[in-house]
């Protein structure tokens, strides 16, 4: 229902939605631990069976088994345990009504807007200083709305940004370099930590073929209850 209204209001196209899945599958191919190691085309997405119109099977993240872990330590002692510790500059959470119909705006996740503003305040980082982000693309429309609500692009411009490559590995703001929930997988309880793992690899310069050159600041964005809760972390080298 978010996708339908986004298409109606902002002229977002079916191809732009599909471009999110295409990009994330490409990234997934360069991630040895991702669930899907196959490229897909916009046509593949448009020909996949309808689930909840306009979303099709290839707009949806899969069911995934998986586990992820991080080791946390106070900044002062982190070097005792790791040669390349990554700093958590901010962790912020915000909530909204669970029912989509009670939200201020159906095409915005206010929880994402609020959590990211708090995270930027807390970290002293500005949105333009973020080098890459892992966002909650449980459905393709989720990534489009996320990059708008996090402030990477203007509201309504998310679809265009994706299809023009702004969020590709070599774009202005690479998004879901791991393959995201769509291709790397969505092992629900492990998804947030999996996002942190990708940012840590990238900030350490250990992301191999999908490495974002010179990445210094990364962001993770995770969502529960279709936007009832959103959590944003900002990390740096």
């Amino acid at each position: 229902m978010i996708a339908r209204l986004h298409i109606h209001r902002y002229g977002t196209t079916r191809e732009e939605l599909a471009a999110v899945a295409v990009k994330n599958h490409q990234n997934g191919c360069n991630n040895p631990i991702s669930q899907y190691q196959m490229e897909i085309t916009i046509d593949d997405v448009l020909r996949s069976p309808l689930v909840a119109d306009p979303l099709r099977v290839l707009d949806c993240s899969p069911i995934t088994d998986g586990a992820a872990a991080v080791v946390l330590a106070p900044t002062e002692v982190a070097r005792k345990y790791s040669d390349g510790p990554i700093r958590i500059l901010a962790a912020a959470q915000a909530s909204d009504t669970l029912a989509l119909h009670d939200r201020r705006d159906i095409t915005t996740l206010d929880a994402t807007v609020s959590a990211s503003r708090k995270a930027f305040d807390m970290s002293g980082i500005e949105v333009k200083d973020v080098d890459l982000a892992e966002v909650h693309d449980a459905f393709t429309i989720g990534e489009i709305v996320a990059i708008e609500d996090l402030g990477f692009v203007e509201k309504g411009e998310g679809g265009r940004a994706v299809i023009e490559g702004v969020t590709a590995i070599d774009g202005d703001i690479p998004v879901n370099t791991s393959g995201g929930l769509k291709a790397c997988g969505h092992p629900v309880g492990a998804t947030g930590i999996k996002q942190a793992y990708e940012i840590v690899l990238q900030l350490r310069g250990e992301a191999g073929k999908r490495q974002v050159e010179g990445a210094e600041v990364g962001l993770t964005h995770n969502v529960g209850g279709c936007g009832g809760t959103a959590i944003v972390h900002v990390m740096s080298r």
Binding site: M1, I2, A3, R4, L5, H8, P49, L50, V51, A52, D53, P54, L55, A99, L100, H101, D102, I106
Partner: protein
């Protein structure tokens, strides 16, 4: 279930706001709230919608079906099914309520009823 059968919500006489589902207190007026029951006429319009092709077991036999966010004439929004062809539903379409079977508990369980919508 007056709210499910007859779209009964509440109205605050102090600020003239309508609530569905019913609230016992008005979050705007709090102590000054003067609440009364209100039966919504049910006329509304489609704010956005989807057509479900792949449903959970409980709703499988109804697929494909339209699910919409409907804004009632008095203001509140709710989510409900709109009975019409998937090619007929559109954003802004006027709808009115009808009393229908919503589902049943398993194969032999109780049938429960409530409100769906049709094009007005």
């Amino acid at each position: 279930m007056p709210q499910r059968y007859n779209l009964v919500g509440t109205h605050c006489k102090n600020c003239n706001e309508y609530y569905f589902p019913p609230r016992t207190i008005c979050p705007t007026c709090r102590r000054e709230a003067r609440m009364e029951d209100h039966k919504f006429g049910g006329e509304g319009k489609v704010v956005t919608y989807t057509t479900i092709y792949n449903a959970t077991d409980d709703f499988k036999r109804q697929t494909p079906y339209n699910l919409a966010i409907i804004e009632l004439a008095e203001g509140p929004r709710l989510t409900g099914q709109v009975i019409c062809s998937p090619s007929e539903i559109e954003i802004g379409m006027r709808v009115k309520p009808v009393f229908r079977i919503l589902g049943r508990d398993g194969d032999r369980g109780i049938i429960y009823y409530g409100t769906k919508f049709v094009p007005a």
